[in-house]
Symmetry: C2
């Protein structure tokens, strides 16, 4: 018999009923089964190499104790840190976390959604476009599509629009951007460029608005924004064009705020290609503080996001949600990390 052993096989081997096996292996046999019998059941289970069938258990219990963490990409280690935090809290409560990289990055789903999102008890979704999330929870075109989170499994969103129906655990990206602008302004920069991610997600919209507001609040400061893909090459090409078109005049920005560290790496390349010194000719800032930030030369001034804490708090919120609670959304602060990629502009513009 090469068939995988079931609890009934164990029962036969131990000379007891299947119920007894279940009770013993669940550890709930105190006062219901004799020590001797319990021992022989465990022995039989070990001997047969029995492991419970999770599909059956899930069906019976109506839960899987598994949570799906949806991330836009695995190319950015930021989400690995989010996972770490979520997994730690989950483990404390007997839950597992499994990662599902969204097929289309930050964007909405194209084609059928194939993730096993029904065999799970809840979903954590990070930094996704809004459309993607409603598609996730309820198939488009079906009733409830406008009520994401009311149907399907409980959902907690990370780094997403707090105005949605699902609880959100956020990084205060607006404050982070304000800190960067404040830092640059303090150094004397007045002509700022913002290289924005070309993704319609809350987190990026918020960054753009925060930068605009912060610069607007400065006297005699100017801001120009351009969009680019969140890749080294995409950012590099965008900045190269930018410098080619406007780089000659006195109009050129003296500081470049990038929407994330990966884009900053591309900006470094483009600046070097154009013969600009960093930070002498151009100060550059990132966002996230991933590994890359410190590896760049000069080391990148950026905002460190509490990725691990983000994962922890999100998981806690989801557990509360599973427990019929009503978690409040919250927002964690980031930290301005000043390194070597920012300096006073060589020639003051005031």
């Amino acid at each position: 018999m090469s068939r995988r052993p079931t609890s009934r096989d164990v029962a036969v081997a131990a000379g007891v009923s299947q119920s007894t096996v279940s009770i013993v292996l669940a550890g709930k046999w105190q006062g219901r089964v004799s020590v001797h019998t319990a021992q022989s059941v465990r022995e039989a289970a070990t001997r047969l190499g029995y492991r419970p069938n999770l599909a059956a258990r899930n069906l019976r219990l109506g839960q899987t104790r598994t949570v799906l963490l949806i991330v836009p990409t695995l190319a950015n280690p930021f989400f690995g840190a989010v996972y770490t935090g979520a997994a730690r809290i989950a483990a404390e409560h007997g839950f597992s976390v499994v990662v599902y990289p969204w097929p289309d990055g930050h964007g909405p789903a194209r084609g059928p959604f194939s993730a096993p999102h029904e065999a799970i008890d809840g979903v954590l979704a990070s930094s996704m476009a809004t459309d993607a999330l409603t598609d996730l929870v309820v198939a488009p075109g079906q009733p409830g599509h406008d009520r994401a989170g009311d149907m399907g499994v409980p959902l907690v969103m990370l780094d997403s629009d707090p105005a949605g129906t699902a609880p959100t655990v956020n990084v205060d990206v607006a404050d982070g951007m304000r800190a960067l602008v404040g830092h640059l302004a303090g150094l004397g920069h007045r002509r700022l460029w913002h290289l924005a991610a070309d993704i319609d997600a809350w987190t990026f919209r918020t960054r753009a608005r925060a930068v605009a507001a912060a610069v607007a609040a400065l006297p005699d400061a100017a801001l120009v924004r351009r969009a680019a893909p969140i890749t080294v090459d995409g950012a590099r090409a965008a900045v190269r064009r930018w410098l080619g078109e406007e780089g000659r005049g006195a109009d050129r920005g003296t500081a470049l705020l990038c929407d994330d560290d990966v884009m900053a790496a591309g900006a470094y390349k483009a600046a070097r290609d154009a013969g600009l010194d960093i930070p002498g000719d151009l100060s550059i800032t990132g966002f996230d503080d991933i590994l890359l930030a410190e590896a760049l030369e000069p080391e990148l001034t950026t905002v460190r996001l509490p990725a691990v804490a983000l994962g922890e708090r999100a998981m806690s919120a989801l557990l509360e949600l599973l427990d019929q609670g009503r978690p409040r959304g919250l927002s964690l602060p980031g930290d301005l990390i000043v390194r070597a990629s920012t300096a006073p502009p060589r020639r003051a513009t005031t």
Copy 2:
């Protein structure tokens, strides 16, 4: 009734039996159900917002059409690329891939293994220590522990020891290292250092052996090896000590081979700390060709691993295994990518 609707609810709503619902929604109703009835079943399902319970389906079918990809870490984007390849092939066959970052990196498990590895049809495991894999498939101390892959779910290993019982899909890391040594030797280097990962996994043992053999085959060449953690800081500290102890004499290596790109980033830092020019005073090489390699300044000479292809081939092998086939292990070549971090040694040592 806020209970989630079942196929029986749909049946009642459509005025048919549950079997009919199941048949219609599975799309197998050709010639068994009238067009009119099929239509009303689908309409009822949509109206109720019915979605099948996967636990029940999995139990009934005895399969989940889900594969677990176990990776040592999400901090290294290499594994994101492996995922991409695996997911593509899986999707073509109606499978989903879910990622499980091993709690202890490349190493064996500590404490109970909490991954949902039973609710899946197969496992892909990448770059893990051997002990970790046997623990995964069969709990330690149980029969079959020495026959990983014979019990439990089918397993395909990536970047792992081909001598194991599970089929392996590998990168030819030995050839990659030989190419790097050959490149450096061609530039005139004779005193080589190898900064090795302090992990007891096949992939790193193989790299070390390949470097040793390649250097041994060179006339009048010398090699020194040290181990370090696979982190920027770990590598940086190791190289700092190394340069401090041996860096003064003529004994110092003129080229430093690092076991992966992340370690190379740490080596950059240490070299800069010591006032060494790269590649003038010290050539440095990496391995993997992750994003970081091109972002470093100077850009890193490394070996590009076909991560996406690796994931694709591994998934294909697993599907074959699930189909009762006997896939042969295979090994994909890497590509030497020469960038700016390697150059002839400033003063020849011969």
